[in-house]
Subunit: 137 residues, 2 copies
DNA sequence: GTTGAATTGTATGCTTTACTAACAAATGTG
DNA sequence: CACATTTGTTAGTAAAGCATACAATTCAAC
């Protein structure tokens, strides 16, 4: 085996770390994490989505999804209501505060993404997303 | 703002998660994590490296580096010795067990990387690493 | 239609990673 | 020499992930 720099997984880990750190800085005032923002985002896009579907979309198991939904519910951003069509499922909805937080978060994401994409041309961004998608799909 | 799929940071997070999960599966028998393996790898490449330098190479702060070195020391894979040139520094070395574990880990990394790179041509791998490097450098 | 399997949510506990703050020892600088 | 910086260390906090177990609901087989 050659050097650590030749390992693709290593670069993904480092890049993720760098993005995560910048994300945290950007969101320190809002007090939201990556997972919390993406969860809010999905619930905003699909009101009434069930926890299990959320987890599948964000690649989290049920227990992890619970933790994050719990925190967002405690903060008053998300509401649980029993689903009409399937009594096992919890349908999730944003509160007014949740919608406001999501709107703020989206503008923070915009500046975070600008920082990230500043080092790429738009073709490179497209290529990068395409390559990364092959990993997580 | 458009959809979550348009956010580069989101794809990096998902790709990292997928790689992390496969890594964990691959290393469940060895009982090593990504961080532990990369730390062993660096110490193997540069015997006598100080903790602070390790942290810089792997983008970890001192406290986090401590945690991981502690675990590897408890397992008997790594040794701390006070540096001769600078009394503040701890020089790190692999034990014989550490070297054996690293050798095994490298062969696990090889199959993990094969799984990861199977979806890319070698040109794409090169491109991906180049793009990711711009993020974490 | 009832029984048994699968799905979904929930609760609990454990592990890893990451960060902050404070302190001590060694080193470097004025 | 006095003071600041670097490095290691400890302790505490928090997020995220996973496994397990259990209850309620739904689905499937018979």
């Amino acid at each position: 085996m050659g050097a650590l720099d030749g390992i693709v997984g290593f670069h993904i880990r480092l890049a993720h770390g760098a993005v995560y750190r910048h994300f945290t800085e950007t969101f320190v005032d809002l007090g939201l994490t990556q997972k919390q923002v993406s969860l809010l985002w999905v619930v905003g896009d699909e009101p009434g989505v069930a926890q299990i579907e959320l987890g599948q979309r964000l690649r989290m198991d049920r227990a992890t999804t619970m933790t994050i939904v719990n925190r967002l519910e405690q903060r008053g951003y998300v509401q649980r209501r029993r689903s009409n069509s399937d009594g096992r499922k919890q349908a999730l909805y944003l509160t007014a505060e949740g919608q406001a937080a999501l709107a703020e978060a989206k503008s923070c994401i915009a500046s975070h993404e600008a920082w990230l994409q500043a080092r790429f041309t738009s073709d490179e961004v497209k290529k990068l997303v395409e390559l990364l998608t092959r990993i997580h799909e």
